[in-house]
């Protein structure tokens, strides 16, 4: 990494890059436009049978008995597993981070043991020679339940006499720890300065409660896998996930196996957005395969996806901001309760950490409550925890701007976090682009366009940390001078292209001569999963280092051939040149590769890193809407996303992340929500009534890429995937609020809700 300084200088003048910043066709593209790419459900194995899951339709119940006798007798049924077939895991077995991963909970979420905790909770799984037989057998499994009252909302769950989901759950983070069990898993608190005191200095204070509903990531590909356990206990799993190593680690844990006995082969992944950072089917398929001696394929239906996977937390937030008359923020408070779903672990703490991060505040208090309810266990969803917090904070900022009569972007510019600002979550920001996104937003043509009747404009900002973590990369030089770049990071949105571009930049060879691939768990060292906007940053860093390692290897070979010191070899544009003398004819990568056998064998480079130095991302979005005052229908007229991405490696896919995140956020703001019956059955179990935006709902999404390079990455990469979903909830809500002249603080802003709000004000 000695040349990080050189890289940064290179960023200053981007024209120095040959490949970075171009948008070539992705290496896996042709397979994906011709139908040849293999996704989770596309894999078959010889002798394969099919598994189906039996799910509870009760939201909360004790399992009194499970009788599988009749089902087992059915012809074609090869295996049946229930919770009792899985090894017991100790409740203390967990990994503690910003979000706790409890293997005890994970095991129960994969298949219920004594209790079911939500509509759709897996209770048993059947494998049979056809899907039809498996479904018929599933219907023959007799389960006796003792139905318990369902707890569906954080408000109900926090009531004093609420039915308790998990006996023994004592609120963590409380001092003293409460004696009684409750549905509150934990309390998180973040403090900077003394907010309560500082509010006294405010000329104006805005304060309001906000609500958001449970939403699903909504990836189009349902979860799918094939598992095969051979007679010697060696297992192979083909699956669609955000991390083959994650699948291996979790399956090993839940099935009490040694990691070396499980090989996970990643398929193409048809969308994840955080929802495929967990296992659901893989442990079931593995046990069914072990029991039957046959490969077992399991594919979820859309109904199963909605009932039992994802979603992300709905919840409540109370935001309070105090400011001077001139708009200077003096203090801020945020208190939030997030649904964790059936098991602890909502991203409420991340909400607390991110909400006020775009602003320079000396006095902040954030409190978050993690609350269990009878809904599916929350999974990550793009910038987990941040959108709902930002919805509250950005709505409050908008209200403050209205109250003070200051332009909402001007108010944000005045208070924007800059290099050196102490973030509410503890760090002092290094170089960041918050202010730049705000200024660029203000300068857009969009922001300065006049609006018509019933139209409104909203702006909002957002923050996401971006993360590093463990990544591995191998760069293998083929005998003809072409190169293979192998990583362990599933490609969910074009990252193969970014990896190839960064390798091309270091190696100085054509993008087309590089083949990036996503390797299985036995072909590349461990890597963390794809998530947190880490791959282009962290895995990219590993690729850069591995490519540099390969370049060094090739310089060594050239030095050997020329019999000079390695310092005398310069590498440029894929060619080794001897600096000292021109008697040696420069050698191309192909020439060096061709003589590898004579210079020490195959040429490669590797890097296994735990990447530090992730650079924070900031975004500001502008949204125009028109509201039909008689029906409450909202049309999004125009939308612009401005984002600091550090350096755009592949600008077209960077824009794609910004556009896609914005539209998911618009869906969250307008029409997406989980609708449950009173006793906890999910009512909208398909795309008909779980209303994600369709093509005709959306305008073009304009993008403005801001590039304030991240000093922590050789090419300045920050990470782009997550922050685009943070501002839209607030931006859309602010736009609708301005259009109707009443503040909308309850998501989704579906037509009935908007019309009721308008009518109530009349």
């Amino acid at each position: 990494m000695g040349n990080e300084k050189d890289h940064l200088e290179a960023i200053e003048g981007k024209e120095k890059f040959r490949y970075i910043g171009t948008s070539p066709i992705r290496p896996d593209g042709v397979d994906k436009v011709t139908g040849r790419a293999n996704f989770g459900a596309d894999f078959t194995a010889n002798g394969m049978i099919h598994g189906r899951v039996v799910r509870s339709s009760h939201a909360h119940a004790k399992i009194k008995s499970i009788n599988i006798e009749k089902a087992l007798k059915m012809k074609g049924v090869k295996a049946i597993v229930t919770g009792q077939d899985f090894p017991k895991i100790d409740p203390s077995d967990k990994v503690v981070g910003e979000v706790v991963v409890s293997f005890y909970d994970m095991s129960q979420n994969v298949i219920a043991r004594d209790k079911v905790f939500y509509d759709g909770h897996a209770v048993a799984a059947v494998a049979a020679t056809s899907i039809k037989i498996a479904e018929e057998a599933a219907a023959l499994i007799e389960i006796e339940y003792e139905v318990l009252p369902a707890v569906m909302t954080v408000i109900d769950a926090m009531k004093k006499n609420a039915p308790v989901l998990h006996k023994g759950m004592k609120t963590e983070g409380m001092d003293p720890v409460p004696k009684r069990s409750s549905n509150v898993a934990s309390r998180a608190e973040l403090k900077l300065g003394n907010a309560a005191e500082a509010f006294k200095d405010a000329d104006v204070i805005v304060e309001r409660d906000y609500t958001a509903q449970t939403v699903h990531q909504g990836y189009i590909e349902p979860h799918a896998c094939v598992a095969e356990v051979s007679a010697d206990g060696m297992a192979t799993i083909w699956s669609s996930s955000q991390g083959q190593f994650m699948v291996r680690a979790f399956v090993a844990k839940l099935c009490a196996m040694n990691a070396s006995k499980i090989k996970v082969i990643p398929s193409e992944i048809g969308g994840g957005f955080g929802g495929k950072t967990k296992v659901y089917l893989e442990p079931l398929a593995l046990l069914l395969s072990r029991q039957s001696g046959r490969p077992v394929k399991m594919v979820m239906t859309r109904e199963e996806v909605l009932r039992a996977t994802g979603p992300t937390s709905g919840g409540h937030a109370r935001a309070k901001i105090g400011a001077k008359k001139d708009g200077t923020l003096v203090a801020a408070e945020l208190e939030m309760e997030y649904e964790a779903g059936a098991f602890a672990g909502s991203p409420v703490k991340l909400g607390c950490m991110t909400g006020f991060a775009p602003y320079n505040l000396k006095h902040v208090s954030c409190i978050g409550w993690d609350v269990v309810v009878n809904r599916p266990q929350a999974a990550a969803y793009r910038a987990p925890g941040a959108p709902v917090a930002a919805f509250a904070v950005e709505s409050a900022m908008d209200e403050l701007a209205d109250t003070l009569g200051i332009d909402p972007l001007e108010l944000r510019i005045k208070n924007a976090a800059v290099e050196g600002t102490q973030a509410p979550y503890g760090v002092k920001f290094p170089k960041i682009g918050c202010l730049e996104t705000l200024r660029q937003a203000k300068a857009t043509e969009h922001y300065n366009m006049p609006l018509g009747p019933n139209q409104g404009r909203g702006v909002a900002s957002g923050f996401w940390f971006n993360i590093g973590g463990q990544s591995s990369a191998s760069v293998m030089v083929n005998p003809d001078g072409t190169v293979i770049v192998a990583t362990g990071s599933p490609d969910i949105g074009g990252s193969r292209a970014s990896m190839a571009l960064m390798a091309a930049e270091v190696l100085g060879i054509d993008y087309d001569n590089i083949k990036p691939l996503v390797a299985d768990t036995e072909s590349v060292p461990f890597s963390d999963l794809t998530g947190g906007s880490r791959v282009t940053f962290a895995t990219g860093k590993a690729v850069v280092e591995a490519a540099e390692d390969a370049v060094n290897d090739m310089k060594r070979r050239a030095a050997k051939v020329w019999d000079v010191d390695i310092d005398q070899v310069e590498w440029k544009d894929g060619i080794a040149t001897c600096i000292e003398t021109d008697i040696h004819k420069p050698m191309t990568i192909a020439e060096i590769a061709a003589m590898a056998g004579k210079t020490g064998g195959a040429i490669s480079g590797k890097a296994n890193i735990n990447a530090k130095g992730a650079g924070a991302a900031f975004a500001t979005h502008i949204c125009d809407v028109e509201v039909d005052p008689e029906t409450g229908y909202v049309q999004v007229l125009r939308y612009t996303a401005v984002q600091d991405v550090g350096t755009a490696i592949h600008p077209a896919y960077v824009e794609g992340q910004m556009q896609g995140g914005a539209v998911q956020g618009i869906g969250w703001a307008l029409n997406e929500e989980y609708v449950y019956s009173k006793d906890g059955q999910l009512q909208n179990t398909g795309f008909l009534d779980y209303r994600v935006p369709v093509a005709s709902d959306m305008p073009m999404i304009d993008t403005v890429i801001v590039e304030v390079p991240n000093p922590g990455h050789p090419y300045g990469v920050r990470g782009v995937g997550e922050v685009p979903i943070v501002p839209p909830l607030g931006a859309v809500a602010n736009a609708v609020s301005h259009a109707i002249g009443i503040r909308m603080a309850d998501l989704p802003m579906s037509p009935p809700k908007i019309l009721a709000t308008i009518d109530a004000a009349d």
Partner: protein
């Protein structure tokens, strides 16, 4: 009832398969004919990932019974490119980065192909409404619309 023997023309070639009544055309394509390019995203006609062209009409393969296609013509994503020669839609989807995860892409390309056959000059609004039955969760649709517009222009001989 015994399985049905179905003969159809799939991507221009004769094909035959056996299927039960309850098997959809999508099941038959994927499981009986190993044509897995048509994807299953919902099985209820709400996502369009299984879009195919049946006797010239765009349909969701999940809402057609396999037995119904006896004697009919089916075009799937596998038949869109002619060998190595990509269809303009495929080329422009690649050039415009109109796919991220790629699971919805086959359905979009088949649906857009049907659109351009019927309407070589679609406006942005016409493209958006025609493709409203194809869900994409990654792109926000923007680049998909652009790719269809550019493919349409190329097919009209304008580029």
């Amino acid at each position: 009832m015994a399985k049905h023997h179905v003969e159809a023309i799939i991507n221009g070639d004769p094909a035959e398969f056996l299927c039960g009544t309850e098997q959809t055309l999508l099941d038959c394509l994927r499981d009986e004919l190993s044509l897995t390019g048509s994807k299953e995203g919902c099985s209820s006609g709400d996502c369009g990932a299984c879009s195919v062209i049946l006797d010239g009409r765009l349909v969701c393969a999940c809402l057609v019974l396999g037995v119904e296609v006896n004697g009919k013509k089916v075009e799937t994503i596998e038949g869109v490119a002619k060998g190595d020669d990509l269809h303009p839609l495929q080329k422009h989807f690649l050039q415009e980065a109109a796919l991220q995860c790629g699971i919805c892409t086959p359905g979009f390309i088949v649906a857009a192909k049907a659109l351009l056959k019927e309407n070589p000059h679609p406006t942005e609004t016409e493209i958006r409404y025609w493709l409203a039955g194809n869900l994409c969760r990654c792109t926000g649709y923007d680049k998909i619309i652009t790719a269809v517009q550019k493919a349409a222009a190329e097919m009209r001989g304008e580029s």
